[in-house]
């Protein structure tokens, strides 16, 4: 199976935030904005994402989480996963020394990381 190295955000959306000292990230397969997507490919993308996002993968893509407990909860009905990174924000937003104390941009960071995606899940590149 041939793959290409592309940003995770190529067809994956994200929203991240905080609960106390924990950061959470939602990752899901976006709807085709034209509304004309092949439902089979959409479901193949969701299967791929659900298999791809694991604790180890999150730690690899976000090295700042490498030492922290990471939970991944599948939400197949919403086309994605809920990720919880425990303790990333220290004592919580008011106390955190992090550059992004509420983890608002953590999702955009992970979307920008390069990952290997099966070519059949990608739109053909115009030649």
């Amino acid at each position: 199976m041939s793959t290409s190295r592309v940003p995770l955000g190529t067809f994956v959306h994200a929203r991240s935030g905080d609960k106390g000292g924990n950061a959470n990230i939602g990752l899901w397969v976006r709807q085709d904005p034209t509304g004309s997507e092949d439902p089979e490919r959409r479901s193949a993308r969701i299967d791929w994402l659900l298999g791809f996002v694991t604790t180890e993968r999150v730690r690899e893509l976000l090295p700042e989480t490498a030492q922290l407990p990471v939970e991944v909860h599948p939400l197949a009905n919403l086309g994605g996963v809920n990720v919880i990174v425990e303790g990333l924000l220290g004592d919580g937003v008011a106390a955190s020394t992090r550059f992004d104390p509420q983890a608002k941009a953590l999702g955009e960071w992970i979307r920008s990381r390069l990952v290997d995606v099966p070519d059949e899940l990608l739109d053909p590149t115009p030649s």
Partner: protein, 440 residues
């Protein structure tokens, strides 16, 4: 077009006009004027907000509520009363009776006399020691929607609450309209899902949305969201016509995924199974939420506690050009020595991205190095800290400069969730100052 209850047999139209304390002030007016609504709701309380309100109240005990809500009421109350639009918010924060009093004064000044409901009993700070969260500046149990429903049923035009959950301001009106009981778990769960989607305001209509490339991205402000709530708990998420942004399956998914802690979303009235939610398109800017299932709520109530943690401060040093690692190492050595006498409890150094070599702008040639300090004492992270940095101005690495003048230390809190048995919390509902009975 003006707002107002439009169809008693149809869905209950619940608008949101605030996702946090400090959200767009004109939003209540916009929701009232740009299309039909039955109830306007707002969430004003984040974990951090409770701390801010706690600090307000240390200065002046008559405060402790979201003051922007008073301005919104002042602008909108007359029209809301005339059109029969109810207003429900958790803007009461730590002092909902104080907020009700303030609203009464403002209304009287406008020649109005609304019926005002208050839901409180969430404030456990006076009993912190007894309940096991000693030293907390604020301690508030998260309450559900049944108290709000009773206040509405008793005729309240405006209901202000303490720490009800963000979704409860939507669940409560649903209970009021459709008469759900505590065992109607699926309907309650559906309302929690709808409430969770609209509680963060424009988060549901294209704000902070990773699909923003599909938005018009023009200057038109994003519209605030609406949930058309049905008797079975299903809903359609939408927004008023002509407002900015969009409502799509992706904008709704984004908010459903936000701040959740696993596949089950706990609320005081019901546990919502997020795996049951079905989203489908229902025309332009309309997304239907259906199929939501719920189960009996957790036995204990969650409590948000905030403790004053200490004070913090920071300085950002700019290093430009060559030998950046050596410049940074020397700076840190000098700072360590200067802070040695009264070293703050926590000293954290972080570094921005490295510049490209041979940069063609000065900023492009710069590395920014940030020093963040925390300590129980304001003094240790005040002048003692900033002077250590400033005194290096002429005695450190070449090109020494700071991105901002040294600032004053700011106090910080530590948020901790806790849990209490339900019988420890006595929820009260007051209508025009008279208690209408306990919620068990």
């Amino acid at each position: 077009m003006t707002g107002g209850p439009h169809d008693p047999a149809g869905p209950l139209i619940v608008a949101n006009c605030s996702g946090f304390y400090g959200d767009r002030l004109s939003a209540m007016r916009e929701m009232l004027d740009s299309g039909p609504v039955d109830v306007i709701t707002g969430d004003y309380l984040a974990e951090l907000t409770m701390l801010i309100l706690g600090k307000d109240q240390l200065r002046d005990p008559s405060l402790g509520y979201a003051r922007t809500f008073v301005s919104q009421i002042e602008q909108c109350l007359g029209d809301a009363l005339e059109r029969g639009v109810r207003i429900v918010s958790n803007a009461g924060g730590l002092n909902p009776t104080g907020l009700a009093e303030r609203i009464r004064e403002v209304a009287a000044g406008l020649g109005l006399s609304p019926v005002i409901g208050v839901v409180d009993g969430d404030d456990l700070a006076p009993r912190s020691a007894e309940l096991g969260f000693e030293g907390a500046l604020t301690a508030n149990a998260y309450l559900g929607g049944f108290g709000i429903a009773r206040a509405l049923a008793a005729g309240a035009d405006v209901v202000v609450t303490g720490r009800v959950t963000d979704a409860s301001v939507v669940v409560g009106p649903g209970i009021w309209r459709f008469g759900w009981g505590t065992d109607d778990h699926d309907a309650l769960a559906g309302a929690v899902a709808a409430g969770h989607v609209i509680e963060c305001g424009t988060h549901a209509t294209g704000g902070n949305f990773s699909g923003f490339m599909d938005l018009p991205r023009d200057a038109l402000p994003l519209g605030f969201p609406i949930a058309e709530l049905h008797a079975d708990g299903s809903s359609v998420i939408t927004k008023h016509p002509g407002t900015g942004g969009m409502v799509t399956i992706d904008t709704v998914t984004a908010q459903l995924m936000y701040e959740i802690q696993g596949p089950v979303y706990d609320n005081p009235d019901v546990r919502t199974d997020l795996r049951s939610i079905e989203l489908s398109g229902d025309g332009p800017d309309r997304v239907r939420i259906s199929g939501v299932t719920g189960s009996a709520p957790p036995e204990q109530l969650k409590v948000a506690t905030n403790t004053l943690g200490g004070h913090r401060n920071q300085m950002e040093f700019v290093l430009v050009g060559l030998d950046l690692d050596a410049k940074e190492a020397w700076l840190r050595e000098q700072m360590d020595a200067a802070l040695a006498d009264r070293r703050p409890a926590e000293v954290v150094w972080t570094r921005g991205p490295d510049p490209v070599p041979d940069a063609d702008t000065e900023e492009g040639a710069a590395r920014r190095v940030r020093c963040v300090v925390k300590d129980p004492s304001a003094e240790v992270v005040g002048k003692a800290f900033t002077a250590a940095g400033v005194e290096l101005a002429l005695s450190s690495y070449p090109g020494f400069t700071l991105t901002a003048p040294p600032g004053k230390p700011s106090p910080f809190g530590v948020y901790r969730p806790a849990y209490v048995d339900r019988d420890q919390v006595r929820e009260r509902v007051l209508v025009d100052g008279v208690e209408i009975g306990e919620i068990s």
